[in-house]
């Protein structure tokens, strides 16, 4: 582990901040300086091992940190100054909270004698961020910095990960204190149950060994618990069909014969029908989100659900499981594996094959063979050219659904997106973090014309760092997902969804990032090739069909039994 300071060395609080970050193995910080965190930036000068990435807006810093955390499964760090700097982090913190992303946000606060006086650039940041952080702290003494930051890093990734914010007053950053590594992290007594009890294991094994129509639904918790190998072994051992929630795509390679797609509002037919007929559902590291279950009363009517999650508050929160097991996804599955009897489910798997075929015929073929350029075709081509091995950083809306549905992920943990919060504009900065974390990987940001304009300024960050990131801009000149709802459920009243967009090519070039525009299939294929062969950032604007709809779809408030496979099915 790299370090600068010796135990007991007396330095400014700001240096202690940098030292704590360094000692937690953090190489990149995403941030923005200001009046209340200048001392930290001054100290950064002494830490050349830490690469600070100057974003253009603090929201970008938070999302970039998220991208970094997605890619590394380690806590990422972002900096902001007091007041507006800190409040600009809010969306990113909320996003990280919803998607269980480990992150330590360090904000500068006005000098402690001024706290509470409505001083210049003062905001009660701890108050503002209580709802959207796992925990937060206000530090007003230099000697409290190290213990607090060690706590923060510990909490960010311990148990269910999440963002932790540490607000540090400017006088604490400037004051001198001895650097000491805390002997004990204060919250180490904050115990998390990670393993299943023998009784729980026995019950789980009995249910699965007797199951005739078993189904696995795996979520982000599987990624967060380390790797998907154990899950794959469990599935293969009993030939259980596996569905992956949107946050867990790429846990299993797309080509794996047991992978049955993604459940949910725009999920795959097989993944949404599975729960209707399954007798045993093994739900791992997922939380039965409303976008996954649809109307809970129609969800999984025949199934006994085994729910494994590290966060006990998720067990029984929405869907009542037959068996609740608080524990780490990987640890529990590792315990379970030796108790399972190898099985085959040929009849059950044949049903899934039929569902897959139905979706392919009714949805995929139409999308991919349509005469006009469609988003699905772009993502499909991207998937083919990259052989499913790229990292896709998705934004929010139709583009996200097309990415999730049509990119065939073959490499583990290669799909980063904003699931719980659904933050438009996430992808551009998150892609920056992802590329820093995994410089050897090919990184594609797939984003819509609405989303890209929400954090557009980060194009400048990409250029400044000369990151080899490719941006696939799916432009339909609409806020497509809202437009789709308005078309289908609001009598076609297109209220405030039409965008008169800038010239994206010129805009990109203005940032110093070369760009191409593709309006038909041939141009699309060529543009992707060109972007891939270009060293450095590149943007391709794909002008896709304006009024395309994502199908299948479970209308909001409907049950999974009411899934609409194509537009003709809408009553």
């Amino acid at each position: 582990m790299k370090s600068h300071l010796k135990e007991g060395q007396k330095v400014q609080g700001a240096e202690i901040i940098c030292e704590c970050i360094l000692r937690h193995g953090v190489k990149y910080i995403f941030g923005y300086p200001g009046g209340a965190n200048i001392p930290i930036y001054d100290a950064l000068y002494k830490f050349p091992e830490i690469h600070h990435v100057l974003v253009r807006h603090e929201q970008g810093a938070a999302h970039a940190a998220e991208g970094y955390a997605w890619a590394t499964n380690k806590p990422a760090v972002c900096f902001a100054t007091s007041g507006p700097g800190a409040t600009n982090l809010v969306t990113g913190l909320a996003d990280a909270m919803m998607d269980s992303i480990p992150m330590v946000a360090i904000t500068g606060q006005v000098p402690s004698p001024l706290i509470g006086t409505d001083a210049f650039q003062e905001t009660d940041v701890v108050g503002v961020t209580t709802a959207i952080t796992k925990h937060n702290y206000l530090v007003t003494k230099a000697e409290d910095i190290a213990p607090t930051l060690y706590d923060a890093f510990y909490l960010a990734c311990h148990g269910r990960p999440g963002p932790v914010l540490v607000d540090i007053s400017k006088d604490a950053q400037a004051a001198y204190a001895e650097f000491h590594i805390p002997e004990k992290v204060t919250h180490q007594d904050f115990k998390v149950k990670t393993k299943a009890t023998p009784e729980e294991l026995e019950k789980m094994a009995a249910l699965l060994n007797e199951a005739e129509k078993p189904l696995i639904i795996a979520g982000h918790g599987v990624l967060l618990s380390g790797d998907g190998k154990t899950l794959t072994q469990v599935a293969e051992n009993q030939n259980i069909p596996v569905t992956l929630t949107q946050q867990a795509l790429s846990v299993l390679p797309y080509s794996h014969p047991l992978f049955m797609g993604m459940p949910g509002m725009h999920g795959n037919v097989a993944a949404n029908r599975g729960p209707l007929f399954a007798d045993i559902i093994l739900a791992v590291g997922m939380r039965f989100h409303d976008r996954v279950t649809g109307k809970v009363s129609s969800y999984a009517p025949q199934a006994k659900i085994i729910h494994i999650d590290i966060d006990p508050s998720e067990l029984g929160k929405l869907v009542q499981p037959y068996l609740s097991v608080a524990g780490d996804a990987k640890a529990v599955l590792n315990q379970l594996l030796p108790l399972l009897k190898p099985k085959n489910n040929p009849k059950w798997l044949a049903i899934f094959a039929a569902w897959k075929k139905e979706e392919d015929e009714k949805v995929h073929q139409n999308e991919l063979n349509a005469p006009h350029l469609k988003s699905a075709q772009v993502v499909d081509e991207l998937s083919r050219q990259t052989e499913g091995k790229a990292i896709i950083v998705g934004d929010v809306g139709q583009n996200q659904m097309y990415s999730a549905r049509y990119y065939h992920f073959e490499t583990y943990n290669s799909w980063y997106n904003s699931g719980g919060a659904g933050t438009m504009g996430f992808a551009l900065p998150a892609g920056i973090g992802a590329k820093f974390a995994l410089p050897e990987r090919e990184v594609w940001i797939v984003i819509g014309d609405g989303g890209i304009q929400m954090t557009l300024q980060e194009m400048a960050t990409i250029k400044q760092e000369n990151l080899d990131i490719k941006i696939a801009l799916l432009n339909n000149n609409y806020l497509g997902m809202v437009r789709q709802w308005q078309e289908l459920f609001y009598k076609g009243n297109y209220s405030e969804v039409s965008l008169k967009n800038p010239n994206f090519q010129k805009l990109s070039e203005g940032f110093g990032i070369p760009a191409l525009k593709a309006t038909n299939k041939n141009q699309m294929k060529e543009a992707i090739k060109k972007a891939r062969s270009h060293k450095g950032p590149f943007l391709v604007e794909f002008v896709v069909e304006a009024e395309e709809n994502v199908f299948p779809m479970i209308p909001a408030g409907a049950g999974i039994d009411e899934m609409v496979v194509s537009k003709e099915d809408i009553k």
């Binding site: 701890v126 209580t130 709802a131 796992k134 925990h135 206000l138 909490l155 904050f190 508050s313 929160k317």
Partner: protein, 159 residues
Amino acid sequence: MKNLSTIIIWSHNKPGVFYRILWLFRRKQFNIETATVGHTEKPGITRFTITVSGDKQAVLNMTKQISKLVDVVRVEDVPDEKLIFRELAMLKVDATKRDDRLEILEIAKHFRAKVISYVPEKMVLKLTGEEDKIDAFYENMKRFKILEFVRTGRTALFK
């Protein structure tokens, strides 16, 4: 107050911990009926006794949420039969009329309420007990001119 559940929370005595707990109740759309807070036999540990009304599953889910708060050491939703609980009430009543005074003292004696302040024309009574007893006491006192009435809410120990 029907369906009353008692949630007992032990937490580190850190700044803002009460705020975090109250915020969480609001966030999960729970109405707090009563809350008492104070130090405990363990230095640095604060104990909250909070009563809420809601169905059992909702209360159970709420306790799981509370236990996620970093400063919270332990939280339990405890059934009444496992608890000894008391509430403190104080009542200030107009005692200008002699007849009223006598009658108030009669009622106080019946409920074992104590007179803790008696200035001309005003009497302050203190009463401890379970909620029903305090409710009944208040019902009896209603016909006098009550100047102030305050009750602490339930605080509880395990049997």
